[in-house]
Amino acid sequence: MLMRGARTVPSIAKPRSIPPTQSPLWTLRGSITRRWYWAFAVAGLVIPLTMWWLLSASGWVNKIFMPSPADVVIRLGTWWTRDGLLQDFWISIYRVTVGWLLSAVIALPLGLLIGSYRPIQAFFEPLTDFVRYMPAVAFIPLVMLWIGIDESSKIAIIFIGTFFQLVLMAAEDIRRVPMQQIEAAQTMGAARGEILTLVVLESAKPALLDTLRVTMGWAWTYLVVAELVAANSGLGYAILKAQRFLQTDKIFAGILLIGAIGLAMDQAFRALHRRAFPWLHTK
């Protein structure tokens, strides 16, 4: 019945199909298959690597300034076997983790309070906003003067670099919790504490985890800064020492290694996100 009705529609009214001149790949905000995605992702990594390799193999650039990928891999090997790569690796991971955890442990509850109560916001936010713009790096001399040059000074620099940002971002995450969610709890008779723990915190958790992921990246930046200035171990220190001996390949290796660690941690956070918040990843 319906089919026949459809067939009697005069041909003029037939919708014209859009000629397939455009590839679906280049549709604005279009979707692509997984295979295409990976093809582009691999190309995006392989092409720069190849260009680097070509540049170093061509001999245009002095090896002292631009080592070849192979040099870097070999250096990574000798660093591992002879120069204590693992020690550098672990000490750096330790500093980042402790500094970042310390700032998270204090910043998250503070952010929850700042984002929930106006008086606390008024008390802390202008101060935090101000301190945030003081460059953490500039605190290094002060930190060395006050704390010295042992482990705690590196941790302190990472703390200073991430804490103030983390507080403000966490407070913002808390403030973004929709008022309707809070009011729904109020009309169900929830007490203030219950709203904070059962609604606000739960609602903001995914955003908070993202904030933690982002600040973990910054913690690595400040680690390298701290180790360049005030350390005798760690990946940042190894990079600095390599510069003194003109070991460009080791500088490359160190930078790439830190990049790889950052990428791995980022992916770990994303996996945790998918795990912890299934409701955000189901459709």
Binding site: P178, Q180, Q181, E183, A184, A185, Q186, T187, M188, G189, A190, A191, E194, L198, V199, E202, S203, K205, F277, P278, W279, L280, T282, K283
Partner: protein
């Protein structure tokens, strides 16, 4: 299906609003959102509130729900002044109020996590509560989605879950703030009959704010028309329809007559009439 009230502890409560005003103070000058509102809602009555935007109907509902404070005047629930939110007054919002991290069932049972609903309960209460959650789930047609997250549901299903959650603790009063405003027309009609059904079964008082006049008439026994600048109660209409409603009633002459009357009132009080007049003159001019 009529067995939603296993232990009949609920008794609908009445609302008495007297001399209620709300003034929003701002540096640029204060606005009178509500001026001297007097309104009584009887226990187990279904009242809808309509009016042009800016007439303060949502503000009025939020004050009754305890989410906002009045500047002066009083709201009494069964004779007791209502200050702040209370478990006797549940509220359903237009959208985004379900908790996206909880499944539909967990959302409906959310009130069980709150101290206000756990005090002095026995194990048989817990059992009854779980039976009630199941019953609400089934009357709302949500059984197959009990373990789904809200973002997996359509807008209509989400609102059903939100209503079920509000009804779960057996509120004596249900306040609804344009709950179907974001739904399409067909879904809305189904929701209307569902709400009428729940009203018959649950024995609660319902105050329902909407901008849709047809919805207001179809649902209620009385329609309150509010007017803006300053927000006030303009007129109240009794709906001459029997308790059991059906869609054909919307075509009955008395339904259409009432709809016309109310629409006319809203146009007159909202300044829309002058806008229409201007448009009519412009069209005439263009025709010449």
């Amino acid at each position: 299906m009529t067995d939603l009230t296993t232990p009949v502890a609920t008794r609908a409560k009445g609302i008495a609003i007297a001399g209620l005003s709300k003034i929003f103070a701002a540096p640029s000058g204060s606005t009178v959102a509500l001026q001297d509102i007097d309104l009584d809602v009887a226990p187990n009555e279904f009242v809808t509130v309509v009016g042009a935007s800016g007439c303060g109907k949502s503000t009025l509902l939020r004050i009754v729900g305890g989410l906002e404070r009045q500047s002066s005047g009083e709201v009494r629930v069964d004779g007791v002044p209502a200050v702040g939110p209370g478990v006797d007054r549940a509220m359903v919002f237009q959208h985004y109020s379900l908790y996206p991290w909880l499944t539909v069932m967990e959302n409906i049972k959310f009130c069980r996590r709150l101290k206000a609903h756990r005090e002095g309960i026995t194990s048989s209460d817990v059992e009854a509560a779980s039976g009630r959650a199941d019953a609400l789930l089934s009357v709302m047609g949500l059984e197959s989605t009990a373990d789904a997250y809200p973002n997996q549901l359509s807008g209509g299903m989400q609102q059903r879950a939100a209503i079920a959650r509000a009804l779960m603790p057996r509120p004596q009063i249900l306040l609804m703030d344009e709950p179907f405003g974001a739904l399409d027309a067909q879904t809305r009609e189904v929701m209307h009959d569902l709400i009428r059904h729940l009203f018959a079964v649950e024995q609660t008082t319902i105050v329902f704010v909407t901008h849709d006049v047809e919805e207001a008439i179809y649902l209620a026994s009385r329609v309150v028309v509010m007017a803006p600048r300053p927000g006030r109660v303009d007129s109240i209409y009794a709906v001459p329809l029997p308790g059991r409603r059906s869609l054909e009633m919307k075509l009955a002459p008395e339904f259409i007559g009432l709809k016309r009357e109310i629409l006319e009132r809203i146009r007159e009080t909202s300044g829309m009439k002058t806008d229409l007049e201007v448009l009519r003159k412009l069209t005439e001019k263009a025709a010449h």
